[in-house]
Subunit: 463 residues, 2 copies
């Protein structure tokens, strides 16, 4: 049963029903919340296209779709939220006075999902999911308070083979977006853990990892100062040596040899070695794979392999995707131990960064063909013609009003519709119609509907 | 700038950062909020398939996609929310102490979107959109507090041609779901408005419409009692006569003739007449179109044509879609007048009703083909083989661990994967492999990879 309405709400509209019926037409300012934005068709067609490409990759690997609610009990999300995520969470009391919050990623609700459903699911469970998440962070370039995320994970497998599959998929996802060359920067949490155990600084692991995670935005000097706050002299030297090992370039084997010379043998290095071998000649992964011991992935739930995908020609876009292995996803919610490995892509970050760079793809927004309205008396014929084209896979829009042709052409141009179909009272007498190429204004007159359709298909195939 | 954190939140986790680092592994109950549910793959593949079908229809008509935020200023949503929607709204104060709420449908945020963007959009603007909305209503069979909605609208056209196109699309959407026969029940708000003006009861229009809207769940006697609360004797008789006019069956022309005998000529009847004529021999609309003067569509923003889509063989699913014309969508947010007409489909309602009826379609959940793991040493070969199949459009899953074949077969069955590929140390010597039909257990041995691929494509095409 829904609890009583929050008293603040009652105060705000004391008698909702009668207030609606008597509503005076008060004007409301049509403003958006700060940090939120609309997706106009120009943005949304690209976001949908990118998302469809990512989903097709996940489907091609046989991953299964799921969905979880946007709202959860706050304690569920808090259990796995880092300090930042906790502060940024949209959290409130619902009608039943429950302490609830909007999800801030897709992974934490997925952990809760696994705790509830593990027994009824195939195992290993390979899932993909896409949807919105919310963080009340300070809006800045490329960061919004609402964002669409694409995730893919394998749960219930400890195997390096699953790490390998995740990296393969991350590479195919990056390639599918066709944004130029990319690197997949890979490390393993075990390496820094092992290194600080050797120097006796395990207690300072978390803050040191946090500094390393931000190393890219610090000068060498700033990095040393920041590390010194948490690391003794020996640990500082060890961490700097580790970061140096990542900088020399060369093959994965060469970088791993340098890392070994700092930290010695260990599970982390061994797993990375194995992955580098598995990836050999698996393009596009093989060329993109770059061992980089500075990759930490914040203070998330990761425990093993961690990685980030970066665009070579568009470094300003930053990381377009990331992921890693976690050895205990559902532990806080269940007595089962369910290891997993997965990846995330931040769709909005990519789309808006491309928009800011003026590099947003410019596909058609809607139809392939516009049926111009020469006479409203022909409306039924227009829809009949249009349906023949639609049934053959041609997206066909019918202009609804007999407005000036200039207005109809402007509409077609605005929607980026390449072809027009013209059929007026004259054509009705003969049953013939005209197709016009709207950019070049080339006309093809006196066509039967069947001829018009095959011409349209030919013209669309060549553009 | 994000404002201070809500004091209740601070009290709840006094020091988020340090509490994370010291976190004792406290167990959290993995429960879902009441009225919310997870979509497991069985549900999600069907919901995605249905949504894709609806979106393909909208795309085939040349409609453009948009998206708006899930969160808006509460006053934006309140401006167009009926009394029920107001009470059910998820409304709270955000980090910046803004009065915000989750959208309760896609239409009201769309109105706000139009007020902001009208000048930069093509006009008429034909848009489709799908996404979640939230209402804290009392959970009951088939009703959830979070639901996925699909909407399509034409804004900026008063024309009957746009009403007609919307009905065509509603019919094609219903047909695309392949849920058997359906009816599109159509009326016009002008008819009841005109009738009550004639009896001098215009002041009681809203409550009388509300009763008529619920007429389907009332006995004749209950209906009369409920109407009598708001209608004088003359109005009561007139309303009952109007409802009777809808009950006699027959063609649209016959029903419209009976409605005319009650209310006379008017814009509402004339528009319905025009639509019935436009729809003639446009299947599947022509057979589904049913004039029904009891259709009211609640007290929403509709002002003209209103309609609902109902399944004939699955009446228990109720209305699967609905829509209508509104003559002033953005009036509360803008000085412009933007008339429009549109439709909504409630995806979750349909999917969960089918699940409750045991009629949920049972497509494969993931891959078409499973590469069985005979040896983990072959992991790289498995992914190489799999990629050849994926590139040819075969969704191919690789089992990650060399577990017992029985477990791997159980996995394939659980995911409903029809085909298996077997390649072990023996096959490695010859380069030949085996495809197995997992249901009939029929084996096809000694195949080259190319033969295996073409066999797989043949087998998938015939199932």
């Amino acid at each position: 049963v829904v609890g009583p309405v929050d008293s603040r709400l009652v105060a705000f509209h004391p008698d909702p029903v009668s207030s609606v019926e008597q509503a005076a037409p008060r004007r409301v300012d049509a403003r958006l919340l700060k940090g939120f934005r609309d997706a106009t068709p120009e943005i949304e067609v690209v976001r949908r296209d990118f998302l469809a490409r990512l989903e097709r990759v996940a489907q091609s690997f046989g991953y299964l779709p799921i969905e979880t609610p946007a709202l959860e009990y706050a304690e569920i999300l808090l259990a796995k939220a880092g300090g930042e995520a906790q502060k940024q969470m949209y959290r409130f009391r619902d009608h039943g006075d429950r302490d609830v919050a909007l999800r801030f990623d897709l992974t934490v609700p997925f952990a809760r999902f696994m705790a509830v459903h593990a027994r009824e699911l195939p195992m290993p469970f390979k899932r993909y999911q896409s949807g919105k998440a919310w963080r009340g962070e300070n809006p800045q370039k490329g960061r919004y308070r609402e964002f669409v995320q694409f995730d893919a994970d394998v749960v219930g497998s400890d195997s390096a083979v699953s790490d390998f599959e995740t990296l393969l998929m991350a590479a195919q996802c990056a390639a599918a977006l066709e944004l130029g060359d990319f690197r997949i920067l890979v490390s393993h949490r075990g390496i820094i853990t092992q290194l600080l155990a050797q120097t006796g600084a395990s207690a300072h692991l978390a803050p040191i990892m946090r500094v390393i995670d931000k190393a890219g935005s610090l000068s060498e000097n700033e990095l040393q100062v920041a590390l010194s706050e948490h690391a003794d002299a020996e640990s500082l030297a060890a961490v700097l040596a580790l970061l140096d090992a990542g900088r020399g370039g060369g093959t994965a084997a060469a970088v791993l040899a340098r890392i070994r010379s700092v930290v010695g043998e260990g599970d982390g290095v061994a797993r990375l070695q194995q992955l580098a071998e598995l990836a050999a000649d698996h393009e596009p992964l093989a060329s993109a794979l770059t061992i980089d011991p500075s990759i930490m992935r914040g203070l998330d739930y990761y425990t093993g392999v961690v990685f980030e995908t970066a665009l070579v020609q568009l470094p300003q876009v930053g990381s377009i995707g990331a992921g890693g292995r976690y050895d205990d996803l559902v532990g806080l919610y269940s007595s089962e131990r369910l290891p997993g490995v997965g990846m995330s892509v931040g769709l909005d970050r990519i789309v808006h960064a491309l928009a800011d760079e003026g590099r947003l793809p410019q596909p058609g927004l809607g139809a392939d063909l516009l049926v111009f309205c020469m006479s409203e008396a022909l409306a039924s014929d227009y829809q009949r013609l249009a349906n023949q084209f639609r049934a053959a896979g041609v997206r066909t829009d019918v202009y609804p009003d007999a407005r000036k042709l200039k207005a109809q052409f402007a509409y077609a141009e605005r929607v980026r519709i390449p072809l027009g179909l013209f059929y007026g009272e004259d054509e009705q007498a003969t049953g013939r119609l005209q197709i016009k190429e709207l950019v070049g204004r080339k006309e093809h007159a006196n066509l039967t509907p069947a001829e018009a359709l095959s011409l349209t298909q030919r013209l669309l195939a060549t553009t």
